[in-house]
Symmetry: C2
Subunit: 469 residues, 2 copies
């Protein structure tokens, strides 16, 4: 069935991606270049991501706030490196209220500058620290080569900004967000294994002393940077005059962090788990975890299907009833596969007569089982747990099968065509520019045991090389 609906991943991965976005009704292109309309199903996925991330962010002590969309152009000039990086990406409001503005207003590419201006007002004493702020908002960076969810002119994200009294406290917090929010979310909600590591100096955020990252492998073997957490040192504190009076009465610059993830994660979901039949959504993330599909409304099957949906809802399953019997059953089955719903419960008069229904798992192609009606709620809830693990295991196996080791530039170049390559950082420290010339980047540095390198100057680190989105 699937072949008729989607381009195959293997034949043309970018086209397959576009097909999934369109056919699963995740998003459409907006009329202004590079913008997107996130359709209800795509937005429901993003809402689930937001809820899971927001809960973890709050558990880490940060509070949400909201800063204005418009930033005075002069703000962006305070941090020279910033302007250089962003200037060609900015959208600028020159006219408003029917006339030309005295000072143009930039549509935020990030809220870094404006948040730091307010931090400098709010932070006075060591008692005001740590100040832990997060914002959910839309931001705009003009994209020349937009790709839906991955690189869009407008995207939705969260950006966290914090200020601390000491370097150690800031570093701990940047790593806490990395592990307790981003890594935990990737592993346990998105069911995607990620490399957790430190960016090289070349790859880190210009304003940061250190950038930490989670990197996922997509279905084509490329890397996707899924989230970053930055240790900013006192760089912004000095540019924006964020000082506090220490317990001893001295005036000191604050130590800061920032961290963010975006609607790009929807792209990670598609490319990390999708197959030739469409999306596959891990149950922890799925807006619809199980769909009860009524095959034909005969012999009371319609009522039974509705009752089963209610039973599943009662068992804590996010369930939807599909009783559109005037649409062909096959077409509906294809639609639910496209949408990646983890479990399909098919309810037909014949099965019902024998006291059973058919359970179809989305994580394994062709896995159908006839099961008794009795105890279906419990059975489906258990199955969702299995599917969550199975999707993670599959993604991990694929990453492992597509991760090579290399010692030389030639070896790295070749192996990186299909996946990740682990190379000795000691030897590749001076080869990063050569890699870049081949469109290869070092995704992150890790200790040999997978832990985070304390410094890129450490000996014996492993660098993972890959092609990247």
């Amino acid at each position: 069935m699937a072949k008729a609906v989607l381009t195959s991943k293997r034949d043309d991965f970018p086209k397959w991606y576009q097909d999934v976005v369109a056919k699963a009704e995740l998003a459409d292109n907006g009329p202004v270049r590079g913008t997107m309309v996130i359709r209800p199903y795509g937005y429901a996925i993003w809402e689930r991501m937001q809820a899971e991330l927001d809960r973890r962010i709050k558990a880490a002590g940060a509070q949400n706030a909201y800063f204005p969309l418009f930033i005075p152009e002069s703000y962006l000039k305070r941090e020279a490196e910033h302007v250089e990086g962003f200037s060609p990406e900015l959208a600028v409001v020159t006219h408003a209220g029917g006339k030309e503005l005295e000072e143009a207003a930039v549509v935020r590419p990030t809220s870094e500058t404006i948040i730091n201006v307010f931090f400098s007002k709010w932070v006075q004493s060591h008692r005001d620290l740590p100040l832990l702020i997060n914002q959910w908002a839309n931001v705009v960076r003009w994209e020349l080569r937009p790709r839906i969810f991955l690189r869009t002119t407008e995207f939705l994200w969260q950006e966290g900004h914090t200020a601390h009294a000491s370097q150690a406290d800031a570093r701990d917090y940047a790593l806490r967000i990395l592990h307790e929010v981003y890594e935990d979310f990737a592993l346990n909600v998105m069911a995607l294994p990620v490399l957790v590591g430190r960016k090289t100096e070349r790859e880190r955020f210009a304003g940061a002393d250190a950038t930490y990252t989670i990197e996922g492998m997509m279905g084509d073997g490329k890397a996707l940077q899924m989230g970053t957490s930055h240790e900013l040192g006192q760089n912004f504190a000095k540019a924006f005059d964020i000082t506090f009076q220490s317990p001893s009465g001295a005036s000191e610059y604050a130590w800061q962090t920032s961290w963010g993830v975006s609607t790009r994660l929807v792209g990670a979901l598609i490319m990390g788990h999708g197959d030739d039949a469409g999306l596959r959504i891990p149950p922890a993330l799925a807006p619809v975890q199980a769909v009860v599909v009524l095959v034909r409304d005969e012999d009371g099957a319609g009522e039974r299907a509705a009752a089963l949906a209610a039973e599943l809802a009662g068992a804590g399953v996010r369930v939807q009833l599909d009783d559109r019997v005037d649409t062909g059953f096959g077409r509906r089955a294809v639609e639910w596969e496209l949408k990646g719903v983890p479990v399909r419960v098919e309810v037909g008069p014949r099965d019902l007569a024998s006291g059973s229904v058919t359970l179809v798992r989305r994580d394994r192609a062709g896995d159908k089982a006839t099961v008794p009606l009795e105890g279906l709620g419990r059975r489906v809830a258990d199955l969702l747990g299995d599917i969550q693990s199975a999707l993670f295991d599959q993604a991990l196996a694929i990453r492992e099968a597509n991760t090579a080791e290399a010692e030389t530039m030639d070896g790295a170049r070749e192996a990186a065509q299909t996946g990740f390559v682990r190379v000795p950082w000691d030897r590749f420290r001076d080869l990063e520019t050569d890699l870049a010339a081949e469109a290869l980047t070092i995704r992150c540095l890790q200790r040999d045991d997978g832990g985070i390198a304390a410094s890129s100057a450490d000996d014996g680190l492993v660098a993972t090389v890959g092609r990247a989105y």
Copy 2:
């Protein structure tokens, strides 16, 4: 205490409002004129509003989606009335990506046009209807006389847009949102009585056949329009070519609704319940329902306070522990009053020694009671229910005390200086322009029994006149 902190409501209501916004740390002015920074406490209130509204919107069957911030200028010209209304309010992006745009992009003042463009693509058959979409987003309307939360250049809101197969279905849905979402939220979450009625033709949204509204009375006797729901007829369907094939095969224009509420509701909360000591937040809305204030950390009081906070959390209370004993107790008490936390639990060594704590209700000035430690969780949970009702009752009593009846223009003019005036619509039908000349508006039309008028042409309707925000 409060007199030292805030301007009195009676002396200068606008100044009192500004003081509350600043001192309760709800929001700051942003650097671009008319924009605002919503601080963590203000944003936590908005998040609670969002969660309560979103739950009701979803229960009414609508799905969330997200449409782009930028709208091609040409879209706004499709609906002539629209452009005339909005043009002076628009913020326009003329430069992006380092050069001048071929077509300027308008920052959405509402997403009406762009949503309707996509509705015309998505709606093909009667099977696609009803299409029930909601969006949470920021919008921009350049304000010449901004006032924080009430009229800001950028504000946060939800806008619902729906398409239906029949006029009756669209009308029912507009009224369903009005009652089940907006009225229910105002009464049961915000604890604010609202007039629920129909706007006159002069006051209704230009693109609508009918506008329904909820109107609250603020602390100065003025009206605040808190939410509107529009029956759009086929007006936008014709402008944007939203047609569907009916079961009989005919092509028909869809019938539509739209409806919205915004961060203006935070203004309604402040002005609807605030007093000279600050905010008073109804428990159903309060981010912090009870604060456990440690008076002094002696004789194990600190541990007991923490344990009580945990007990309250266990009883389902949103609780915060204030153990900042190096800040004066009086100052902290003033702060929690400013922030409008419904219940204060004061824990001091002396009370503890006698097995009790002090409970302070925010809804009644000076209401303190010494209560036993035993069963505190249950007691506070019950008290929160009482406070929710008491705040509603107080607001209702104030509205009733400030609502007069009048039969003549002179009578209406005089009574409207301090509150609402109920006048016979039959007699005032031709006096609306005269009222406007006195800065008075008809807030809504109702049947004599308080029900919604089926048409403004009906006989015997009651019009409520007031000054308005």
